[in-house]
Amino acid sequence: MPKLTRQELDKIRAREEEKLKKRDIHGKTTHVVVGMGTQGISAGAKNVLNALSDEIEKAGLENVILTQTGLIVSDKAPVVEVFSPEKGLVVYGNVSVKDAQRIVKEHLLENKILEDKRIQVEE
């Protein structure tokens, strides 16, 4: 199973906490970030980003913010990070368009982590 190092995870957390503070989110509590570096783009991250935006709009998820960043984690693109107070930071790897649809349905709407797509943390 793909893994993140503790250092990579801490870096993502720090970055997202900073962004959430800056955005003054007014109760918008969940942050979904798509890795759009070169590897991400090659692996289809653009389609994943579009799929997430479509599903977030369809579901009317006003409490979710969608953004993008350069690649943080290598070899697992497309990567999608979901950052919420309830579940903390969850990083998904090798995300397809279908997986993006599942992330919205299962993680964002049903509060269930997609364990089969999750990148675990190396301890």
Partner: protein
Amino acid sequence: MHSLMDLILEGVMNSAESGAKNISVEVRESGNLIRTLIEDDGELEMSGCLFDSSYSTKGPMRGYGLSEIKKRDEKAEIIRDGLYTKLSFQALDDSSLDDLRSALLPLFIPRGEERIDFRYYQDDTLRFELSSDRLEDLDAIPYNAHTIANFNRLFD
């Protein structure tokens, strides 16, 4: 292989990661050729060959977008003109810009604080333009369900 829109995203990502606050994207279609000019006010390190796939200013496993552009256009160039960096390249039209809504959504979904201006010309006639400033006025910077819906309505 990267589509033409992927290459534009690479160029914009390169600008954003150089610290640019303002990024201008001009796409000019003439026949089946599309020429792109990306101009930004970020920092440009001119050391090394920026288009080289073995060279990156972003650290391991990152920052190879410009080499992808060079693969498609050997004549792609990047220059520093005063305070601005200008990246230009051209490629055959691969229809990746035909669905403008899908093409432009990734361009305007926020990544940092940068402002983006996009203009599309066909045979030297301006056919379409969109900017972060205009989107902000329309509450249509696409980052949540409401603003994404507003963004999509611009293309109805």
